[in-house]
Point group: D3
Amino acid sequence: MKMISEFTDHDRIEGQFLLGSVSKGVNANGGSYFSVELRDASGQITAKKWDATLQDEEIFVTGNVISLIGETNKYKDQLQLKILNAEVVPLEQIDVDRFVKAPPISKEELIKKFNSYVNSVKNVDCQKLLNYMINKFKDKLYSYPAAVSIHHEYSSGLLVHSLTMADIAAMLCPIYNADYDLVITGCLLHDMGKIIELEGPIVYKYSLEGKLLGHISIMCAEIRKAAEELKITSEIPLLLEHMILSHHGQPEFGSPVMPLTKEALLLSLIDNLDSKMVVVNKATEDLEPGSFSTKVFPLDNRSFYKPKK
Amino acid sequence: MKMISEFTDHDRIEGQFLLGSVSKGVNANGGSYFSVELRDASGQITAKKWDATLQDEEIFVTGNVISLIGETNKYKDQLQLKILNAEVVPLEQIDVDRFVKAPPISKEELIKKFNSYVNSVKNVDCQKLLNYMINKFKDKLYSYPAAVSIHHEYSSGLLVHSLTMADIAAMLCPIYNADYDLVITGCLLHDMGKIIELEGPIVYKYSLEGKLLGHISIMCAEIRKAAEELKITSEIPLLLEHMILSHHGQPEFGSPVMPLTKEALLLSLIDNLDSKMVVVNKATEDLEPGSFSTKVFPLDNRSFYKPKK
Amino acid sequence: MKMISEFTDHDRIEGQFLLGSVSKGVNANGGSYFSVELRDASGQITAKKWDATLQDEEIFVTGNVISLIGETNKYKDQLQLKILNAEVVPLEQIDVDRFVKAPPISKEELIKKFNSYVNSVKNVDCQKLLNYMINKFKDKLYSYPAAVSIHHEYSSGLLVHSLTMADIAAMLCPIYNADYDLVITGCLLHDMGKIIELEGPIVYKYSLEGKLLGHISIMCAEIRKAAEELKITSEIPLLLEHMILSHHGQPEFGSPVMPLTKEALLLSLIDNLDSKMVVVNKATEDLEPGSFSTKVFPLDNRSFYKPKK
Amino acid sequence: MKMISEFTDHDRIEGQFLLGSVSKGVNANGGSYFSVELRDASGQITAKKWDATLQDEEIFVTGNVISLIGETNKYKDQLQLKILNAEVVPLEQIDVDRFVKAPPISKEELIKKFNSYVNSVKNVDCQKLLNYMINKFKDKLYSYPAAVSIHHEYSSGLLVHSLTMADIAAMLCPIYNADYDLVITGCLLHDMGKIIELEGPIVYKYSLEGKLLGHISIMCAEIRKAAEELKITSEIPLLLEHMILSHHGQPEFGSPVMPLTKEALLLSLIDNLDSKMVVVNKATEDLEPGSFSTKVFPLDNRSFYKPKK
Amino acid sequence: MKMISEFTDHDRIEGQFLLGSVSKGVNANGGSYFSVELRDASGQITAKKWDATLQDEEIFVTGNVISLIGETNKYKDQLQLKILNAEVVPLEQIDVDRFVKAPPISKEELIKKFNSYVNSVKNVDCQKLLNYMINKFKDKLYSYPAAVSIHHEYSSGLLVHSLTMADIAAMLCPIYNADYDLVITGCLLHDMGKIIELEGPIVYKYSLEGKLLGHISIMCAEIRKAAEELKITSEIPLLLEHMILSHHGQPEFGSPVMPLTKEALLLSLIDNLDSKMVVVNKATEDLEPGSFSTKVFPLDNRSFYKPKK
Amino acid sequence: MKMISEFTDHDRIEGQFLLGSVSKGVNANGGSYFSVELRDASGQITAKKWDATLQDEEIFVTGNVISLIGETNKYKDQLQLKILNAEVVPLEQIDVDRFVKAPPISKEELIKKFNSYVNSVKNVDCQKLLNYMINKFKDKLYSYPAAVSIHHEYSSGLLVHSLTMADIAAMLCPIYNADYDLVITGCLLHDMGKIIELEGPIVYKYSLEGKLLGHISIMCAEIRKAAEELKITSEIPLLLEHMILSHHGQPEFGSPVMPLTKEALLLSLIDNLDSKMVVVNKATEDLEPGSFSTKVFPLDNRSFYKPKK
């Protein structure tokens, strides 16, 4: 099955596609039609379903994966797709590999790097908690994205984010004389609650637990539970719960307590730095040098300038 | 042993007292002395320790309970106490009953009322969680204050606050068609995390866990742990965790999520109402009609006016 | 004349309807048409006026009540109405009963309950002011809504809100030892300024006075005027003016002073509680258990979750 | 009786003085003494009352006017006063002229200027309201200060402020094509509510009405009452009430509505400008060129720099 | 070439027009068309380009000046224009005089007035800096608008704003005993950085420097550079740099420092007053008395009421 | 001359000391005395000047360096100093080396490292600007502290901070694909304006320029001036001016523009991270494990917990 980036003019297309934005119009003879955005990991294309039926109302919904038959044609020099037939693909039949970008390094490399960081931690209580959580979440840990959005998100985005933070932490701990074991454990665990907060095979959405509790409170409680089960009596679980709770830095960003240990402060600063740099990179990577990006919502809606070469 | 309210002039006094504010002065011949506030459940009195020794520095510390020998005298028509000898009372020898006010109703009545609310809850999962928590916290539940402060605080303040909220909730649930079992359970459990957040035999202070996690996150995690142990599979624990997390209403007041169910909203509104009314009552109850109170810190530092009769 | 809820297919319809949202489209042959929402107290329906004329521009305006002749038909299994002829109904000819929901209890019951609260107030100055205001505003007092919006608003919404607050106040005054007469009078009078702030026979809008002064300042001045006319010399009018001015609790919510008496604080807390609970109830009452509401603007745009049964 | 600026060494002093700051100390032989600041319109001086008696506690209170007998002496090259005897002067016996600075122009000039502005207003309803208010408040209007503070405040400060605003308004109305009558009337009336908000013969304090209502709501209600009495049916009273209510510009500065007419906006901008310029002038007028003032509380606690000459 | 205000029915039109809003539609036979707003200094008119071609996509862009041939016709009693042919006018061929309103006084008068203010300044360092800047910026100084917007903006808007501020300053300096030379120089220079901040022949946009630095920092640096070049050693340049930096009054409005001299405070207050009054005047000048304006974005989105005559 | 850390009991001391906090008391016989904190680079000690004279008022002022003769003695087991004679040391005679801590690495090492970063920058315009600024500021660059405070501040604090930031930047640029030359140049230059903002030989205070302009606007203008002198025509100076202006990240922290390039964002995030980590390190480095620090003002007044070992 062809990927979107491989389409040419007058192709007959069969395959699974994710529905992005969907709009409905009225055509010249009074009937209605759908104009939709189809996506796969290789790109996106505009498609039309003319003479929409009542059933189409339930098929053409943002976030659905549909299986379709169609034909490409050119309109104003741009390829588009005329949809002849479409149906919703049940969750279990979705061919996930068609929809998510591969991460910049292979998943195997990421897992290897993750394990190597786990092994670098010497404190036995940190190790116990890391292994407990890896054991509990590992399937999803290696595939989850870093945020609710498919746009430009890798599979393994959660892993990539945690590992970049660990890279930075490993370099900063000696500069600031911070406890390596605590900070690295914090980097690896801090966002794991997102595995419960988000759900979905391709397009991730907030789960009910995610909405009512948030990944921060979920993960804090998970560590508390694990520490009790593992009968850890040191201060380590408390320090890690605090690091999880405070890693967004401010109440208005979702942290019920502010960082009160050097290690919690460092974790929150690294998280802040990496999150913002990833956003600015996404916003500017495909930009022409010497021009401004579109407005970047998570950075106060600013447009970023890419300097001339 | 006499209580402070029973002192008369030229009494010889022996007994335990709590140290309120402490200040140190220099006397006429260059030595130093302590001027301190002594408290017990019946009132407070100013006391002097003249010719302070080096050891006195460690004895006269706000929050200590001291055992002293002294004599009362009058200064400008006011009784004060001259301390002849004082030493710090070890925690386990403190006679707690001397220091805490009795609640407005007896502790037995409160416990009876509490149990009656527990029994009025029909939902089995709510019941299980209530019984689990009562079992875990009961000793302290019946004696804890409602906040870090001895001033005007009852023993059993936590219980009094929870029960007043339950009284209001019982009346409001039918008006707003809210789930009685959820709201009552929320009233009874919402502040129980304070038993871990605060510590101390008489003067309560934030514990390390209290500072690093806060009673909201602590209690949310406790419910999550209990629900897993009790193998509860309904939505109830999630709804209660959400009610606990959101009961301060706003991120800037310590709630990482805002209320997202009718019952959580109602709980947070009742908590807000009772907390503020208790504060205004304390600030005005001994006030002369037709005058203003001193500034009330938790109510934006306002002074409240007590209307003329 | 049939109400909307009674329409069936191929009915011929004549009657008065309120125009909700209005949108204009271009039809296949270049002319324009209106697609509008018609409302009465029983429900709403989509209607089309094809081949719109220039005069139609002034008829099809949100908020107008129109008298129309039309025919129902089904489109995609949903009843809609084709408008053959329409004209604007002059204010004085509007059949108000077709447009407002009956309150949950009958208006007679509400008035009886209101009077009973008035009679329960013992303080003579409170009584004088209550009677003065009832006399001045009574016609509108018994029919006004509680806010600018027809959506889900009862006729008598203002009365319902004031009485619910009185119910809660009657229960809370003894708990907090607050002055019953002041708080009940405050509940009954606090929003009466809305009778001047809002205007309109069905769809209420802010009047010029409402926009330039607001109901809070209007009512405060009305009490001041009444007290002078009634030659009241006690503190009561001042205390009530203060309660009116401060009942929104914070400057940013429109109160130029914050509550500075126990009774003013209690009034503002009850108003806050009832206003929010009414909003959450409207947002969730028709919601499927286990689902989220649409975003609720007056509650920070949150979506509320209705627990499963 | 000598004014403070006329004191020399070894004077015997008799007369009335206002008590500024008061502090109490312990002297070498264990007794207590008062160190106080005495003020009159000509300046201030430090005074001591050695061997304070119990009665002195009620005499030496900030804001009291006392009648004293004392002797001047020099301490570290500075004149100070030793108080031999002091008693509180009853309100009706205070010699007010000793305590308030004369305004920069004479009160007669100010009244003349005020009347001339009143006469310049052509609109009959504005005129009626102006005359009504002048009649009601005139005694105090000509003597009130502009704010709660005796420091650097003139008698007639309220009048001076209103007239400076009128001067500026008279110049700005033609530039911005604003209604002269409305803006001038607004300038003359906008702060008249302070006559009810503040009280006191010398040291002005907030009255009970001032605290519970504020001068803005008081004056708005006064205009409403006057308009009804005067049977004015034009829009003028509403426009003036709105100007009064909104003249602080923002809810957080005490205005329940924001300016919604050109004239209300202009009034609030002139008030803002004059208030701040008066403050900066007071803070810098006695300052050495090339130095910074002390922190200026109403201007965000900034220190202002006075440029070198 | 006719101006828009001179169009009549069935005119053949040739000439340059500025494109305001642009929208694209689909016509009955599936092709697309443009509906655009054409502007010149005399007014605006709706125009249609039917059967849009691919090239039209680049021509019909908001902000372009196009040269067109068309015909007027009436639609619903309103004149509109059918565009037969259009092309983009290169920057250097734009007939600027067709697009900008003349200021209320002639440019010659404004320049004369500006020079007269420059000559009224006695301080030699102020004079040197004024002359330096006039020399550097004069061409643009006399033609720049006061803000990014063509709507209701005069050519010379920058000059008009600076001179109105100077008029007000000249009247206020003696009232507040402020340094005339500093304040007038500040009025004349404070917004000159906009000449670098904004760019464009007709529709002004932020330049790259404008976006990355802002007119405040640009002008501050220009004065610093000029002072060094002119070898001025007095405090004057520092005081002016400070006035420029602080003239928006608050960090959130773009001033990195707040006013710390009397003259800087006065400049910022006059700027605030004039900017807001100009906005309210634009919003209400064409308004029917007795009605509300549309929402005014720079004034907190309020609608302003224009009193009845 | 002995340093404070070398004092023993009954030493006779002669030498220069910096005055920290100063308080004045009244002694038993009515005279006054000074209790002061003396500091040098090795530590601090409490000292008394009994029987204070009038001249002492000008000598014992916080921030003065005094030359004194005194004797040590023990009071409550702590060494203190009795000052026999003291006078102020003129600026030019201060022995600066007695007062500033040596940085953690030697100044020579720091300068070497700084030069090595300068040489690592390849872009010729960055190089030109770096060399220009080093040439202009070098004397002070190598000795300035990083902030207004002597407490725990190294000489060379500015250099240490800039170099730590460069270390972090050098590691992060490849991760986020940011321009090394821009970010390193930004790290080295970003705070150089503090050399003009602060002044003083030992205790640094804000200079007049520092107060009226701030180091951000000063440095931005310096780069603009340098770029013009150096006739640089590339975008580099603009990008660096923007990085300087925006490096505090938010208007409320003193940046008139927010970061709008990837490199400016990265610079501001590294500055934020290093500034906060340095503060938390100072607050906790001498703290007992298992205890809380005093409140840390620049980190929202929080107390930080140092985990147990």
